[in-house]
Symmetry: C2
Subunit: 593 residues, 2 copies
Amino acid sequence: MRSDYCGTLTAKDIDREVTLCGWVDRRRDHGGVIFIDLRDREGIVQVVFDPDTGDHFNLADRVRGEYVLQVTGKVRARDAATVNPNMATGEVEVYGTGLTILNEAETTPFPLDSHASVGEDVRLKFRYLDLRRAEMQKGLKFRSKVTNLVRNYLDDQGFLDIETPILTRATPEGARDYLVPSRTHENKFFALPQSPQLFKQLLMVSGFDRYYQIAKCFRDEDLRADRQPEFTQIDIETSFMDEEGIMSVTEGMIRTIFQTLKEVDLGDFPRMTYADAMQKYGSDKPDLRIPLELVDVKDLMGEVDFKVFSGPAKDPKGRVTALKVPGGNEKLTRKQIDDYTKFVGIYGAKGLAYIKVNDKNDLEEGLQSPIVKFLPTDVRKAILERVEADNGDLIFFGADKATVVSEALGALRCKLGEDLELYTCEWAPLWVVDFPMFEEEDDGSLNSLHHPFTAPSCSPEELEKSPETALSRAYDMVLNGTELGGGSIRIHNQTMQQAVFRALGIGEEEQREKFGFLLDALKYGAPPHGGLAFGLDRLIMLMIGAGSIRDVIAFPKTQSAACVMTDAPGAVDEQQLKDLHIRLRKKEKPASE
Amino acid sequence: MRSDYCGTLTAKDIDREVTLCGWVDRRRDHGGVIFIDLRDREGIVQVVFDPDTGDHFNLADRVRGEYVLQVTGKVRARDAATVNPNMATGEVEVYGTGLTILNEAETTPFPLDSHASVGEDVRLKFRYLDLRRAEMQKGLKFRSKVTNLVRNYLDDQGFLDIETPILTRATPEGARDYLVPSRTHENKFFALPQSPQLFKQLLMVSGFDRYYQIAKCFRDEDLRADRQPEFTQIDIETSFMDEEGIMSVTEGMIRTIFQTLKEVDLGDFPRMTYADAMQKYGSDKPDLRIPLELVDVKDLMGEVDFKVFSGPAKDPKGRVTALKVPGGNEKLTRKQIDDYTKFVGIYGAKGLAYIKVNDKNDLEEGLQSPIVKFLPTDVRKAILERVEADNGDLIFFGADKATVVSEALGALRCKLGEDLELYTCEWAPLWVVDFPMFEEEDDGSLNSLHHPFTAPSCSPEELEKSPETALSRAYDMVLNGTELGGGSIRIHNQTMQQAVFRALGIGEEEQREKFGFLLDALKYGAPPHGGLAFGLDRLIMLMIGAGSIRDVIAFPKTQSAACVMTDAPGAVDEQQLKDLHIRLRKKEKPASE
């Protein structure tokens, strides 16, 4: 039905007869001539109909925005005066000689070029219109390119694309499962997978050696801005390869994507231990674009006459740290400092002490701060030396439980980087390694920092002896402060797996019931294996600078997990519920329970 | 951890030092030397440990079947006498100089090389072991190759890979939906998609122009041998392309797959109308490998004194047809004919008349048949002429409602083709076109033969006037009697869509409620569009000659829609049900309803 895409015509096509199909982006009547900006997936070209074309002109006169047209015409150069350098096709236009209206269009509920004027709810209701916008088209086209590149990269490396089930058993990732009642097995439910973790491990036990899948995953959680009930993972697993091998293959994949689609060479990714990351950046996903670091001063504060500092300094679980903002003295107003104090409050910090360094050589009068009076001169001196303070710098302090300090000052560091535009580069990737196996809950129980199938870097005996200090063979890939992906070497023998289950407080019976098939699989010749999963949506978001995950998903859900376009979820009839052996739990009738 | 795959070593590798990882397929002790067949994804190689290797020999002596090993050694030629021509690596062996046991293995619940000796339930329970078999590995590797090829083919043609939601609204494909109770919207349910049909149409309305997705689809139906609750479609949709264009692109895709992976040139696919297919083959997915055709003899039977024939011959909805089996007279025994009579009974046929042609020139004595006595001589003559009977042929007859005759004789034709090995070629693809829009139910109501979004080849007015005879712009791709894929040009304007809904008895209110968003989308500038969906599982089955759909899916469900490996579906706790606002409908307590 067409010879060319609208958006691809250039001066090379001059004098060619073309047939185009597309949407009326704009229609103008100018000096008795009709100009139509015709739009398709590849872009926009100007089509001109003059009155000489008779019926076609009259038809062109009738068309309105978003009509679907088929246009025949000849490509010609635009007058020098009307060349549009902002348009890919701006050197040419099509002199229309034929026009067919393929479909008419009513006035759209919102003008595509001022989508920002309506709420996102309207745009989501008419998603098929919002997706016509160049920005949305670009995002989904980019996503398609990334997935194709990922697949070919992994295929070249011998990875097999293998599908794992969507109707499956509850998985142990810890988030809430979406459940699907079974019709054929009364009172039983499938769960939608939170990840294909156990299936991909079983594929390794089967000997498939290298697996990948661009896999849909599901979590029934309350949604934050960057979450969706269903999201997509680039899921990878391989046998007979250690951490180095897996990091090398997957780093190569991300580097290839950036090289090919952004023409950016990410170089070799640095490695950082979890301990270092927490110490210097207060985060296990540090944004290395920002040249600020936390500097611990706990050892200086034990004896000061200021409980806010000396308390945490004397607490084994406490942390006292400094964050120097070079030139912050001038850059930050009193109001901003107040705002940052509120900001760290979000993360549980009870305040935000600071020192303005006016004259670093005058430890009495040169330091401006509400708290400096509590600090002896030698402590002041030691602080300035340790953070390498210069005149004009501002030093923030965090003092509290280590978890609170790290989180609050880590977040403050990122906020300062953004607010003061401190970024030293566009892309800062790294690997974070040597994670702890477990994190301790307030009640002293342990949780997996990754998941219970992650191998520790110690023996089962050492693990049992001191699980709190055990490190794992996990690795996270971080880019610009966002976790792109995470993975680990997995446990491949039953003894170790059971040791980890025990550390997590999962007893023998629960182990059998929940993970019996995994424990069985481990005893029939499981190979050493490991893998990684990347969040595809987040990767795309980062790469195109999208503000919301909804911009990189064709048909996303709202924050309340609904699709306002199709009106999903919807009501179902009684027969369907009967078939599934369930009934609605009616509201406000606890008596009938 | 390794230098080579076991299965890839050849004479070219002789004298190389290699490191291999894999499973012990077999271990033999022969003349004081230990032979290990080491297996990985790519195949098996023989590793030899002799007593000179000391500790390694002793370790090799300890290994048992399915142990996971890392082996170092030198590739050497086998003695001429021990070359194994049945093994890809049969010319060489590895002289082991190092051995590490990476994991031990208990005796497997069934020996992999005699999997047939255990029930499929055992193999499904230990699926990760069953998947170690070469045949299963081959199937899933083949599947991965097909999907990669499909993706690159479509990508080259400008198709964008776009994901559509899994948590969605009930779709109108007609099968039973899997439902997912919503936690955030009380008493509402998501449905898992039976296909991405409406989403891909909306992507066309959005202007994405060319879409594809290898998409998971779900149907909660009672399972037949070739069905699974979740299955995979190669889903395609395109704008501004007519039937010819779409058939050409997709035919090219299938041809490329066969060319690349089977080295088979399928050539240009013939076209056949639905009417012709039903008439000649009694099926809308005829197996053209079989050189048998149905020949209608209805016009000859109106006046015969045999109600079994004359009844259907006089019924406008009746059909009387003949199926000639060349040489069938000798090839088919009385017992076989009886079995075929039972066989057509499955399809509702009340009997299976036949004539054995002993001497075609002797219309009195030369025809052997229980029914020939009811047929006048001129009718006998006309039949023989019409089916071009020769001496030794056997002619079967079907007479009943046309639907029954077509189904029964169509099935008989395929059964004869299989039993008598009549296939004239290995692969027989074709397109079936010009389908009716609707099929009539017994109560006179109409159902879509494809789905309600299929465009008719007539105007809305003609459709309303005589929907029973309206043809659609649908096309099915058929290979060896199996429907590989089906598609159509879709309706792209609201008037036509509403005319079709009306013909289906879907009133204005139901239209709005179920398809409001589609009807809206059609009025804001929907382009002409169409597409196609291939059943990936079935395509793979056909290509590798798998006997069951379960052989081409890594983790399939049983016939009762369960996974016996993970024990899914499973029980859930009361809190989960509360969160989802549902409760179990307890059995045998109708009083408490």
